[in-house]
Symmetry: C2
Subunit: 199 residues, 2 copies
């Protein structure tokens, strides 16, 4: 049981996909989903993305775990996600807010060593000072054990998957604690890429 | 030569990836890129995404063309993109704004019949009336020859790839013409999926 406390009891969520670049993509996706404990979230998969909704710690715990289980096959996998909290009128699935903050997949996946290249973008909606909020979060990311660099339309993070997810979760927590009404964050992550970085 | 005129001369851009779920993914990606005429945009690929920057018509023409060339292999392909215009301080590559609006790939790819399932989300940044702008664009999409439905964190579009891209480009043009200072739109598209929609 962790002592972590969310800055808010609002429902968070993520619409995400994992794309294994392999003929065996179906088994890799289904295999990864099967290894993850999703009992503390609402979850639904369709032909475009998987939706997961609940408390912030579980949203990040589960998306990280699914990617790491897919990545350990050694196949080149892309992870594409939109994390969101505070969308006006968003209420379905609120029952999962009664879950505690003890995450169910950390112990099993945080031991997996896996490098990733990531681009993330933060969109604080509804306010005029959003660029200052974005710059502050990029600056804070530099203290979180990942290499931070700039690119068009996003910020690039290079490092261990576990550190990257921890850093991204902290962005979300910080935005909630700062009172942001509606926060969206997009993440594109690439693991086991055969392409060397051209940066 | 089309008579299309952009609502703005600001530089638009897109950070995108195509993910062919196949062992042959490298050849499919390189093959698609080779078939597309990118001479009217600035373009750069790294190990996470490809960046394309220039005028709105070319940004949508090129991303549509790359997806359609990859899709015609019959392989299950995911397309993930973030379109952006008006990011404060965004100036590099402005030389491509001198290009005219005649798109270079439409003739070759608009004849390709290809169904897709898509989720898109619009993020007008910096203003308080963003939800009204989003709802108006979703409503307008219903008259553009694609099936429009709602899902968490996004709006779902089903139909022909060409119609979906035309509709998404129109969203961007409308946002520019409405005077939006900074607009971001994310798109997740799936073609040739072996999964039937669970909706």
């Amino acid at each position: 049981m962790t002592n972590f406390v969310c800055g808010s009891n609002r429902i968070a969520g993520c619409s995400f996909s994992i794309h294994p670049m392999s003929d065996d993509f179906i088994n890799i996706i289904l295999g990864a989903l099967k290894e993850v404990d999703t009992s503390k979230v609402w979850m639904e998969t369709d032909d475009v993305t998987t939706l997961v909704r609940g408390r912030i710690p579980h949203i990040f715990d589960i998306t990280k775990a699914i990617l790491l289980h897919a990545a350990k096959t050694g196949v080149h996998v892309a992870f594409e996600a939109t994390y969101s909290i505070g969308c006006p009128g968003d209420t379905a699935g609120d029952v999962y807010l009664a879950e505690d903050d003890h995450v169910l997949n950390k112990e099993k996946v945080d031991v997996i060593k896996q490098k990733a290249a990531t681009k993330f973008a933060l969109y604080p909606l509804g306010g005029g000072d959003y660029m200052e909020q974005i710059y502050a979060q990029i600056e804070a990311m530099k203290g979180r054990g990942v290499a931070v660099s700039s690119t068009h339309y996003a910020t690039r993070l290079d490092g261990e998957v576990v550190n990257i997810f921890n850093g991204l979760e902290q962005v979300f927590i910080d935005m909630e604690e700062s009172g942001s009404s509606h926060t969206v964050m997009t993440v594109s992550m690439s693991v086991n890429s055969p392409l060397k970085s051209m940066k």
